[in-house]
């Protein structure tokens, strides 16, 4: 029989010392977002600032594999600006005519550059924890945008008596309160090109909105079309009811 020596696995560590499942996380408080509701649209300026936060902070560990640089034109960037952004990254390509893999500057059609070549490398560089891909983060978390915002602003000193595992951080809104990600955003971390005050809350709000757009880039098109469809359908409903009443009136 053919034996495969696959030293897959590992990743999981320990147990004994940890107390039973720590208390449930707090429910993230509800925030008001411009893209909420039937008529909500994205705030493009916030999306651009959010992209800047992603690019300068989050992108060090988090990939966004489902996005391409060309998508950034939706944030209001010109194709020229997108070209410049893409060219800042070295994208693996190949093989070339010599059969070698090589790197080249990114183009708008390329997917976002990932910080790690694969999940194993990402774990190895982050103490065993895998920074999740953020392309769909808003849709893949309970409470979506509110949750992301709360995590970013929910770092606190651990309460007295809380048994925090080494290498982890205390976060009010994280299940079990022990999160591997160190506090990513601080007051004044990103200097906005549009001069907006870079408070922690502002940066968290901006990047949250950017992530909301990333997970649902067609939202504005969807709602705009939906409105027209609804008007059409309601008129159609009215016509159908009138037609039916007229028809059935004869036989009663």
């Amino acid at each position: 029989m053919k034996k495969t020596l696959s030293m897959l696995a590992v990743a999981a560590v320990i147990s004994a010392a940890t107390p039973a499942f720590a208390s449930e996380a707090e429910v993230p408080p509800h925030q008001k977002w411009p893209h909420q509701g039937v008529f909500g649209t994205y705030d493009k300026a916030a999306l651009q600032r959010g992209f800047q936060v992603y690019k300068e902070v989050c992108a060090a560990c988090h990939s966004m594999k489902l996005l391409s640089y060309r998508d950034l034109t939706q944030l209001g960037y010109t194709p020229e600006q997108v070209k410049t952004v893409a060219a800042e990254y070295q994208i693996p390509d190949g093989p070339n005519d010599e059969g070698e893999m090589f790197e080249r500057p990114g183009r708008p059609a390329d997917r976002f550059h990932s910080p790690f070549p694969n999940d194993k490398a990402a774990r190895a560089a982050n103490g065993g924890a895998l920074p999740p891909d953020m392309s769909l983060l808003s849709k893949a978390r309970e409470h979506g945008d509110d949750y992301i915002y709360s995590i970013l602003t929910g770092y606190e000193e651990k309460p007295a008596g809380f048994d925090l595992m080494p290498g982890l951080n205390y976060n009010k809104y994280f299940a079990g309160h022990q999160i591997a990600m160190a506090k990513p955003l601080n007051e004044g971390q990103v200097t906005y090109t549009d001069g907006t005050a870079n408070t922690l809350e502002q940066q968290a709000r901006d990047v949250t909105q950017f992530l909301a757009w990333a997970s649902e880039p067609h939202m504005e098109q969807r709602k705009g079309m939906g409105l027209k469809v609804m008007i059409f359908m309601l008129a159609f409903c009215g016509i159908m009811v009138a037609a039916k009443r007229k028809l059935w009136a004869d036989i009663h």
């Binding site: 489902l66 849709k139 978390r141 880039p217 079309m225 939906g226 159908m240 028809l247 059935w248 009663h252």
Partner: protein, 424 residues
């Protein structure tokens, strides 16, 4: 359906030429034109047609999405996201297909509830009803396999949990699960076969729907009185009367459906459906889609092994009980025409049955709630009581009511019913 040799004469020579060789126009006029419908059918009778429309919508959007889908564990999730992001109107196709499944089930559940309340399963419509149950089972299988295709956390773990049920079967169970999976875990062979079957089954459903409608057109439709039409005064032609009425219901239904598609497309799904399947990590809280929740609650209602008294020898393990009960809860519907033998069809004239059926509808939602919660404490008890009522109703109450119930007087004909034919 078509009665050959009774061709009508059409003024259009082309139509006439075709009809003399294949009497399709004669058939259409007979079955969808002059076809007699009880004149008192209410809007509950529109949901069969609505369900058929949903099937059509699902097949159309499904085929368009299949053109952009890659059935491979490493590519499936991304190919669905590519549909969402890059394919023209791909997001619309997917949101219609995703929510369409839910609305298909809404239509079918209302259709079934109407059949239950008005006794549409009784003679002479037993076979019509039984084919309906077959359609329900096929729909469930199709929906389950479709849910697997994006290969998300919910997909992978849903497949694992549901297919693992078959391991409850004594002796052959484990082998059967390996056969279903095509391997020792839920993996690429599983995804491939689910894709093939998810593509195939809707057309099987279409075939059974054809038989279902054929059987309907032999007996004609039931109506709120449960009294079969006796004279032409009891009926109206299907077109334009009932077809227009059905269209009203359909347009309203589609309006609500599209409202959800465009404005709340994620209302009926789970966040873990947007995370890639990780076979090494089960999400903390997995639940099936809402339309499976009542049956899921029945599955989980059984927590105690049945043993030979005074020993520890297990006769029927809790797991097997749950699996049998879950499948049994749908299979027993096949036998409903013989479980309820009361000669009166409509719940309107059966004072006890009426309330028992209403309680069943409430029970359905109680079970749905229970199925959505972790199986402990109050939700578990609700699930157990709900399961108890479900089986007691069908296996005890309905057979007893068949003979013991004091029915109200039934009108002599549809047009003699005071509830019929009032101004709308």
């Amino acid at each position: 359906m078509a009665h050959f040799g009774e061709n009508k004469n059409f003024s259009n020579p082309v139509v006439n030429w075709i009809d003399n060789r294949l009497p399709i126009f004669t058939m259409l006029i007979k079955e969808y034109g002059v076809f007699p419908m009880p004149r008192n059918v209410n809007y509950m009778w529109s949901f069969g047609g609505i369900a058929m429309t949903m099937l059509g919508i699902m097949i159309l959007t499904g085929i368009m999405m299949a053109m952009n889908y890659t059935p491979h564990t490493t590519l499936a999730f991304d190919s669905v996201e590519r549909t969402m992001r890059d394919v023209n109107f791909g997001w619309l196709l997917r949101y219609i297909h995703m929510n369409g499944a839910s609305f298909f089930f809404i239509a079918v559940y209302i259709h079934i509830a109407r059949g239950l309340f008005y006794g549409s399963y009784k003679k002479p419509r037993e076979l019509l009803w039984m084919f309906g149950v077959v359609i329900l089972l096929l729909m469930m299988a199709t929906a389950f396999m479709g849910y697997a295709l994006p290969w998300s956390q919910m997909s992978g773990w849903g497949v694992t949990v549901i297919t693992s049920m078959f391991s409850a079967i004594p002796l052959v169970g484990d082998g059967l699960v390996t056969w279903l999976w095509g391997g020792f875990s839920v993996d690429n062979p599983t995804l491939n076969r689910f894709y093939a079957l998810h593509f195939l089954l809707p057309f099987v459903i279409l075939g059974v729907v054809f038989i279902h409608v054929w059987a309907l057109h032999v007996t004609g439709s039931n109506n709120p009185t449960g009294v079969e039409p006796k004279t032409p005064a009891d009926t109206v032609p299907f077109a334009p009367y009932v077809s227009t009425k059905d269209s009203v219901a359909l347009v309203f239904f589609l309006t609500i459906f599209l409202g959800v598609v465009f404005f709340y497309p994620l209302a009926l799904t789970e966040v873990d459906h947007f995370r890639k399947f990780d076979p090494m990590q089960t999400p903390a809280h997995i639940v099936p889609e809402w339309y499976f929740l009542p049956f899921y609650a029945i599955l989980r209602a059984f927590t105690m092994d049945i043993t030979i008294p005074f020993t520890t020898v297990v006769l029927l393990p809790a797991k097997l009980q749950g699996v049998l009960a879950m499948f049994g809860s749908i299979i027993l519907l096949v036998f409903l025409p013989w479980l309820d033998r009361n000669p009166v069809k409509s719940g309107r004239f059966r004072p006890v049955f009426k309330w028992c059926i209403w309680l069943l509808f409430v029970d359905f939602f109680v079970l749905m709630y229970s199925g959505a919660k972790p199986p402990e404490g109050l939700p578990l008890i609700m699930g157990q009581l709900g399961t108890l009522y479900y089986f007691v109703l069908f296996l005890v109450i309905l057979p007893v009511l068949s003979f013991k119930e004091k029915n109200l007087p039934v009108p002599a004909s549809i047009s003699a019913d005071p509830g019929c034919c009032k101004k709308h």
